[in-house]
Structure formats: structure tokens, C-alpha cells
């Protein structure tokens, strides 16, 4: 398995807070890599560093063999690295279809409007939003908006997809559908790097899991090993129910 | 006494009035994140308020500041209700446009009443002469009044319950609500105080220079410059920045034509906005 993404020693400090400290890991082609950690561990910040929303204070990020450290998010998307947001950010004044067309137009393939429209319709079909294509993005339910996030990112035709808590707030049926979708995305040849709090899901989906605590990587291993890791358990001590879930997930 | 020193003292005196004007803008901006574009119109109304009161009573203008401020508070509540109360939770551009709309209406009505012709408040206090230079009594009294009003505001904000509530809301509106502070009332009071400060500064300006209903606009622009220099939501910082702006004007004017000063000011304004969007002298409370 070749490495799609290599992260080496990246750090981010906000004022007095070291949000991410010296984190390194690799992500292989076709892999689903999970990212977990207690609240405030720096997971979303790590995503923001990887896709260029924040500039890393140190270290390098290599994607597809290219150094993308310090590149802006739009440049990163063009290379094939797309993401979703933890807090959904639909372009509210536009229709669902237009939202996805934006993703396709400005994605890796830099499609024309005509191509983008076809791509968008295809992606909407895939995420199950085809019937809502012409409604306003604002009018979608939370589950719908999460799917829209995924659809926009997928429309960019990425090689790697960063999913930030796409399961949070969904009901069990919706979670099941989303998991199926994620698996189908991976089967379609797209690698996935995902943050998730729904432990059962991430333990089942991930090939490997990176665990962050207080900005530091404390573990990187297949799910079965992660739950046994003493540091991980300690990190989650303040959250006994999650420890249970971690255990229960196995 | 050297020309530069005299010029800087003149700058210091007028700068405190700029500072007072900017305090009103800064307070409103800091507390409710509204850039109040009625500011200039309110300054102009303060000028005409002083003109009318002085014309009617011939009382000491510095005593007349009290009714001007009182009227400013009432006016502030009306303007708040008209242009701000319903956009407070909408995007910032909405309050920008709604306060701008009210500004147009006030200027329009003011023009219908007073036209755009200049008016004077004919009042002068004896000045202080040092060597060849004389500092007029009106300038000195205006500067003192501005500083006194600023100190009173500071006392109000830090020593009274209402003032503390305003600061709490400015700091974090949601948290203040949780602590049982009614933010709607607090916002209205803060807005009214901001308008009263604008009116007071206008009233002081009217004792110094002739004015028209449009004169507020240039003080509004100066208030922007001062507020941006000071950082938002720092009323007392605004006074200091106003004085510094006046000193800057005084310090450069001996060396260049006065007509270049606006270029320096607005150039500085844009550059500071770009480089220090949170102000040179501090971070925003938000």
C-alpha cells in the first residue's frame, strides 16, 4: 500500500494553547483512517492543517508525493483532497444541486458548468439526495445537510476525503445509510480520513485509527489494538461512557 | 513657544473632541457589533441642538450639554428601535444598511429644516496667550468637557450595576443572558449612551466652528479612524486615540499643507484596518 498522505511533525499554537503538537502519520491508498480523541483534543484543527485552512507552525504535509504544506484549501482541493465540515456549512441561498455543482466545478477535475452539472446529478443520486436537487439547501434536514456536505466533497472527484463527524446528530437509520455510503466511497477508490465520535461506527469502518489527546498523537494502530492502549484509555478517563463504548465496540 | 508645540497643543485640544465623538461609535460597535452609520447625523443633531438651546436661552453652552445629552439618550432609544432592534441578530451588513437608511432620513429632514447653509453658535470664552500663540477659551473648555464626559462614562461603566451589565453583554451576550441580564434592555441603553456621546461631541464642536447639517459626516469619518486605531469596544481607548490623532495632525501640519492631512489619515485608516483589524492598542472584546 503506497502512502497517499504523509504528515510529519505538524504543530499549531493559538495564543497560549498548543492545539496540535508534533503530529505525524501516514495514510495509505484505499485506506479508511479514523481520527478520535476527547473533545478539544485538536482533531478538527488537525483537519484544518491538513487541508490548509490553517498554516502549520512546523513540519510538512505531503499528498500524492507533493509537498502541500502551507497551500490554501482551494489549491489542496485541486490536487484531490476534499473535506466536509463538522458544523454543516451549506451555501444556504443556493439550491442543493448548485451546491454540488460548486464542488464539481472547483474540484480536482476543474469541470466546466456542463460537466459539473452531470457530475452533481450523479453524486446526488449516489448520496440519496436526487429528489431534493432543486430545493433550497437551507430547507434540508440535518441529515440531508450532512449528505450534502459529503456530496459536495465527492463532486470534487477527490483521491482523499476528509470527513469531520458526518455521523453526529443522525438517527440510527441515517447512520446506517451514511456508513454504507462511506464504504461505497472507499470501494470507489477514494481514501477516507474521518473524525468520529460514534465509536462503534468508526471502530468498524476504520482500517487504522489515530488517537489525539491534548494535541498530541498518543496512538496509531488498528482498532483492536487502539482499545487496548493504556494511554488511550487514560485519555478517555474523564469520559467513562466512551471508554465503555471503546470496549463495547470490539 | 515654538510653532510645532503650539500646533500640537491645538491638536491635543481638538483631538479630545474627536475622541469623545469616537467613544460613542466605539461603545456601540463593541457592545452590539453594530457599526452605527447614524453617528454623523447624530453629531450634526448635537450641533443643532446646541444652536437651538443657546439661541433660546443664551445659557452657558457647557451647562447646555446636559439637556443635549438627555435628548441624545431619548433620541438614541428611538433610533435603536427604528434601525437596530430588529437587525441585531442578522448579518452585520444589515445593521450597516439600516443605520445608513436612518442616517439618510435624518439628513434629509435636517436639510429640509436647516438647509445646508452654515450656522454659528456665537459664544466665546477668553483664551490663554503664551508668547505669540493664543489658545481659545472655547477649545480649552471643549477639551475639558470631553475629558470630564469620558471619565463619567468610565465611572458609569465600571462602578454601576447598569454599566457592569453593559460590559458583561459586550463581553459575551449569551453568558450575560444566563446570568440574568436582559440583553435587549442593556443593548438599548448602550446604544442610547453612544448616541448621547455623539450628540455631546457635536454640541462641543458647534462652539468651535461653523457647521451645517452635513458637518457630522467628517466627524463620523474621523470617528472611524479613531475607533479603528483604538480597537473596538474600548471607549476610553477611543478618547486616547482621538487625542493621539489630534496630536498627529498638530505634529505634521507645520511641515505639509493642511489639505494633505486627510490623505494621511485615511491612508493610515486603511492600512491599520488591513494590518491590525483588531486595532493597534488592543484586542476586541469579542
Amino acid at each position: 500500500m503506497t502512502d497517499l498522505l504523509q504528515v510529519r511533525g505538524i504543530s499549531k499554537r493559538f495564543g497560549g494553547l498548543q492545539a496540535v503538537a508534533d503530529v505525524s502519520f501516514n495514510l495509505g491508498e484505499g485506506e479508511i483512517l479514523g481520527l478520535i480523541g476527547p473533545n478539544g483534543a485538536g482533531k478538527t484543527t488537525l483537519f484544518n492543517l491538513v487541508n490548509g485552512v490553517f498554516k502549520s507552525d512546523a513540519g510538512t504535509i505531503t499528498f500524492l508525493g507533493k509537498d502541500i504544506t502551507g497551500r490554501s484549501p482551494d489549491q489542496v482541493v485541486h490536487l484531490g483532497l476534499a473535506r466536509t465540515h463538522q458544523i454543516v456549512r451549506p451555501l444556504s441561498g443556493m439550491s442543493v444541486l448548485e451546491n454540488v455543482i460548486v464542488g464539481a466545478c472547483f474540484g480536482r477535475e476543474n469541470q466546466s458548468m456542463r460537466e459539473a452539472r452531470a457530475t452533481a446529478l450523479e453524486v446526488l443520486e449516489r448520496v440519496g439526495l436526487a429528489d431534493r436537487a432543486n430545493s433550497s439547501a437551507r430547507a434540508l434536514t440535518l441529515a440531508g445537510k450532512k449528505r450534502l456536505e459529503v456530496a459536495r466533497a465527492l463532486a470534487a472527484r477527490p483521491m482523499l476525503l476528509l470527513l469531520d463527524e458526518v455521523l453526529a446528530g443522525l438517527n440510527p437509520t441515517e447512520i446506517g445509510q451514511m456508513i454504507a455510503l462511506i464504504l461505497s466511497i472507499r470501494d470507489g477508490g477514494v481514501s477516507v480520513f474521518m473524525i468520529e465520535h460514534v465509536m462503534q461506527a468508526i471502530m468498524n469502518l476504520s482500517d487504522r485509527i489515530v488517537v489525539l489527546n491534548l494535541g498530541r498523537k498518543i496512538a496509531e494502530a488498528p482498532p483492536a489494538e487502539v482499545v487496548k492502549n493504556a494511554d488511550v484509555v487514560e485519555a478517555y478517563l474523564g469520559f467513562p461512557d466512551i471508554v465503555d463504548k471503546l470496549r463495547g465496540a470490539q | 513657544m515654538s510653532g510645532i508645540l503650539a500646533s500640537m497643543i491645538d491638536g491635543l485640544l481638538i483631538g479630545s473632541v474627536y475622541g469623545l465623538a469616537a467613544m460613542g461609535l466605539s461603545l456601540i460597535w463593541g457592545v452590539m457589533d453594530v457599526i452605527n452609520l447614524t453617528h454623523g447625523a447624530m453629531i450634526a443633531l448635537g450641533m443643532f441642538g446646541m444652536y437651538l438651546l443657546f439661541g433660546a436661552s443664551a445659557a452657558n453652552p457647557y451647562l447646555l450639554l446636559i439637556p443635549v445629552i438627555a435628548a441624545g439618550l431619548v433620541l438614541g432609544m428611538i433610533v435603536y428601535w427604528l434601525s437596530v432592534s430588529w437587525v441585531i441578530d442578522r448579518p452585520q451588513l444589515m445593521s450597516l444598511l439600516s443605520t445608513f437608511a436612518v442616517n439618510m432620513m435624518v439628513i434629509g429632514i435636517g436639510t429640509a429644516i436647516w438647509s445646508t447653509s452654515p450656522y454659528n453658535v456665537n459664544f466665546s470664552l477668553p483664551g490663554i496667550t503664551v508668547g505669540a500663540y493664543t489658545f481659545t477659551g472655547n477649545h480649552i473648555a471643549a477639551a475639558i468637557s470631553a475629558v470630564v464626559i469620558a471619565l463619567l462614562l468610565e465611572l458609569f461603566l465600571y462602578r454601576t450595576r447598569a454599566g457592569k451589565a453593559i460590559r458583561a453583554v459586550a463581553d459575551n451576550r449569551d453568558a450575560a443572558e444566563l446570568m440574568g441580564i436582559s440583553s435587549t434592555q442593556v443593548l438599548m441603553v448602550a446604544f442610547a449612551i453612544g448616541i448621547a456621546l455623539a450628540a455631546a461631541s457635536g454640541a462641543l464642536v458647534s462652539t468651535l466652528f461653523p457647521f451645517t447639517i452635513l458637518s457630522g459626516a467628517s466627524y463620523q469619518l474621523k470617528s472611524f479612524v479613531v475607533t479603528v486605531l483604538a480597537g473596538l469596544g474600548k471607549p476610553f481607548g477611543a478618547l486616547v486615540a482621538g487625542v493621539l490623532l489630534g496630536l498627529l495632525e498638530g505634529a505634521v501640519s507645520p511641515f505639509i499643507a493642511v489639505s494633505w492631512i486627510p490623505l494621511i489619515e485615511f491612508g493610515l485608516f486603511v492600512v491599520v484596518l488591513i494590518l491590525f483589524p483588531r486595532g493597534i492598542f488592543g484586542r476586541a472584546t469579542a
Binding site: - | 503650539a6 436639510t111 438647509s115 445646508t116 496667550t129 500663540y133 461653523p210 498638530g250 499643507a257
Partner: protein
């Protein structure tokens, strides 16, 4: 006599009813509001008094017809943008036959573009700057003596009193004052004066402290400049408030207005270059005498006329004269009559240049100097001090 007037009256009724009444429409804007309102209203009163006088006498008689004068006039708010819209409107919609200029060189320059584009005659008054006449206008006629003369006259007066004076020029950055000061500065140097300070201020300036501090630092003893009423009166007040030790102050336009007296002590001693003063004693070949004009004006407006008022009235007279000479209101014929005009009215001599490169420039009129002085009763009055031949009082120098 009675019968003929009755017939005339009936005839006029008939013509009015039948739509044959002869009227001419004069269009112009007035700065009723804005920074030029004081000067502009005085000019308007001159127009108005002339119109009422002419109409009371049965109108302008030319080519066997009588023309009643009516005005189409709007407020330009001292704003040159409105001037163009309004002059266009007066020409196109109000069908004005002739135009008077708005007040001030800047507004007139703007209006003259419209009037020239539509080839309408415009008599300019309250507009002394010369540049406008050198842009190729063919229908513009200047009633005021050109700007060059304003301060050169003041410098002549100063030369006679104090050839060693040090001079500061502080003036409005506007068409008129720039046109006045530029040649005046050269002339001052030519006369051997030491010009120690020159600065133009923005037209809407209200705070002169910084400039005043510089004047003090320059150790100037004489200040020349100003612009119009709003800025000039403010400058004088602040010069007084800052107790600037000046021996002579000569400001443009503003001190000519009777309102200047409202400045009280700040008004004393200030000199104004003037197009006309009530004390002037020109022998009028045409129209009323200066005394009659002054009396009629004061009776109507309860204030003495300023030179803007006189210029306004004289514009009417000169146009009336030209229409009479042309025998009608045809633009080309009236233009011809104006080109050959050379008359003396109560306002002085009026003659327009017919040289192509400066067509319409005033070449007959001359500037006098007036100074605000306290009379024996302590009342502020304006006295003519220059030229010496026509003076009503001596120049008070230094002021204090």
C-alpha cells in the same frame, strides 16, 4: 393720456388672453442653501430688483414690442453637480431666452459648459475667474472685473503704506481664489514684498487653527486671501480668536456683505477688494444713479447693497440695453449688441473683450478697495479707501 393707457391696458389683456403677451424668460440658479448662500442671495436681490423695476416700467422695449421679464430660477444648493442639471432644465424645459450665471466662479464655469453647448447667452456675475473665457466660449459675457485685479489693487495700497511688510497668502482652493492669488503672488514679489507663507485650504474648511499657527510662525504682518463668505468669515473669526498680530487683512468677497458686521470686533479693519461700493460716484449714462439704486435697494431689503447686488442689477441693465440695441431677443443679434457694448452705468464701465482667445472677458470694469472701520459712534461701516481719487476714508494701517 388716460385713454391711451386704458387702451394699452385692454390691449395687453387681449394679448394675455390670446397668448401673444411678450415675455422673456431669464434662467439662473441661486445658492439659496449651502456654503455660498450669503453671497448668492445678495446677487439674486440685484436681479430681482432690476426685474421689478423693468416690469413696473412696462417691460423691456425693443423693436416696437415690450417684453415683460420673468425668471426661471432654482436653488443649486451651492453644488456644481446640480448646476448642470438645472441649467439644462432651464434651457430645455423652461425655454429660457437668456441666462444669468450662478454665484461663484466654480459654479459659473460648470454652468457655462451647458449654456455654450446649447448656444445660449449667459451674463456672468459673481464670477471673476478668467480661465472660463479662454476655453472657446462664444456666448459668455463677464460683468465682474477679472480676478487678476482683486489683490493686485490691495498690494498697490499696501505698497504705498508699508513697502517692508511681510505677506502671507491663505486662500480657498477654488477656481476664483486660485485665479486671484496666483497673479497676486507674482505681483507681490515684483513689488519687492517678502512673501513668507502661502497655503491653499480645502473649500469646506472650518478649522483654521493649524494654518493660523503657521501664519504666526511665519511672522507675516499682512494676510491676503480668503475665498467666499463661509470660509472667509470663519477665517477672520479665528484670526481674531487666536490674536494673530496682523497689520492688514484683506479677504475676498466675504467682507463685502453687510452681514460681515455680525462678526463684531473680528470684522474691524478687514479689507475687501470690491467690484462696486455705494460710495462710488460713476455718472450713469444708462439706468439709475448709484444713489437711486442704493435707496431702492435699501427700501426693499432693509440692508445696504453689496457689490454682488450691484453686479446682479447691472447684469440686468446690460442685457436690457443689448436687447434694446438689437431690437429683439434673437440670440445672434443680442450677442452682436453685447459684443459692441461700451456703457457706463451706476456700476461703472462695462465692455466685453471680443478677442477670440478671451471672448466675453470684462475689460471695462475696475476694482476698488473697501475697509471695515468704526465710525465716531463706534458703529461698523465699510469705507472706500482705494483708489485714492474715489476714497471715502483713509486706510487704517495697522489695524490695531
Amino acid at each position: 393720456m388716460k385713454r391711451t393707457s386704458l387702451i394699452a391696458f385692454l390691449l395687453s389683456l387681449f394679448f394675455v388672453a390670446g397668448g401673444f403677451a411678450q415675455t422673456i424668460t431669464l434662467g439662473f440658479t441661486v445658492s439659496r442653501t449651502g456654503s455660498l448662500n450669503v453671497d448668492s442671495l445678495e446677487q439674486y436681490r440685484g436681479f430681482e430688483l432690476w426685474r421689478d423695476t423693468v416690469n413696473a416700467a412696462g417691460g423691456i422695449k425693443a423693436g416696437g414690442k415690450s417684453y415683460k421679464v420673468q425668471f426661471a430660477s432654482y436653488d443649486d444648493e451651492s453644488n456644481s453637480k446640480r448646476v448642470q442639471q438645472l441649467y439644462t432644465r432651464m434651457i430645455l424645459e423652461d425655454k429660457a431666452d437668456f441666462l444669468f450665471s450662478p454665484y461663484s466662479s466654480s459654479l459659473t464655469a460648470t454652468a457655462s459648459i451647458v449654456t455654450e453647448q446649447y448656444e445660449k447667452i449667459m451674463l456672468t456675475t459673481g464670477a471673476a475667474e478668467e480661465k472660463t473665457y479662454k476655453l472657446g466660449n462664444q456666448h459668455l459675457y463677464q460683468m465682474f472685473a477679472p480676478a487678476t485685479q482683486y489683490l493686485t489693487v490691495a498690494l498697490d495700497a499696501l505698497k504705498a503704506k508699508d513697502p517692508k511688510a511681510t505677506v502671507a497668502f491663505v486662500y480657498e482652493d477654488a477656481s476664483f481664489s486660485v485665479a486671484v492669488v496666483t497673479p497676486a503672488k507674482a505681483y507681490a514679489q515684483q513689488l519687492g514684498f517678502n512673501v513668507v507663507f502661502t497655503e491653499a485650504y480645502a473649500p469646506n474648511t472650518t478649522d483654521f487653527s493649524a494654518i493660523i499657527d503657521k501664519v504666526i510662525a511665519s511672522k507675516a504682518t499682512v494676510l491676503l486671501g480668503g475665498g467666499h463668505y463661509a470660509d472667509g468669515s470663519t477665517l477672520a473669526r479665528q484670526l481674531y480668536g487666536h490674536k494673530v498680530p496682523l497689520k492688514m487683512i484683506s479677504l475676498l468677497v466675504a467682507p463685502d456683505s453687510p452681514q460681515w458686521a455680525e462678526l463684531g470686533d473680528a470684522a474691524v479693519g478687514v479689507i475687501v477688494p470690491s467690484q462696486w461700493e455705494p460710495q462710488s460716484t460713476f455718472k450713469a449714462q444708462y439706468g439709475p444713479s448709484g444713489a437711486d439704486f442704493g435707496k431702492a435697494y435699501t427700501a426693499k431689503y432693509n440692508a445696504p447693497p453689496s457689490y454682488e447686488s450691484a453686479g446682479g442689477y447691472a447684469s440686468g441693465l446690460v442685457l436690457q440695453h443689448a436687447i434694446e440695441q438689437a431690437g429683439g431677443i434673437d440670440t445672434d443679434k443680442v450677442a452682436g449688441a453685447l459684443n459692441s457694448t461700451d456703457i457706463t452705468t451706476f456700476y461703472g464701465r462695462t465692455k466685453f473683450s471680443t478677442v477670440a482667445s478671451e471672448h466675453g472677458l470684462q475689460v471695462g470694469h475696475a476694482i476698488v478697495l473697501a475697509q471695515w472701520q468704526k465710525d465716531k459712534a463706534g458703529k461698523l461701516v465699510k469705507q472706500v479707501i482705494w483708489p485714492l481719487a474715489g476714497k471715502s476714508a483713509d486706510l487704517v494701517y495697522p489695524i490695531h
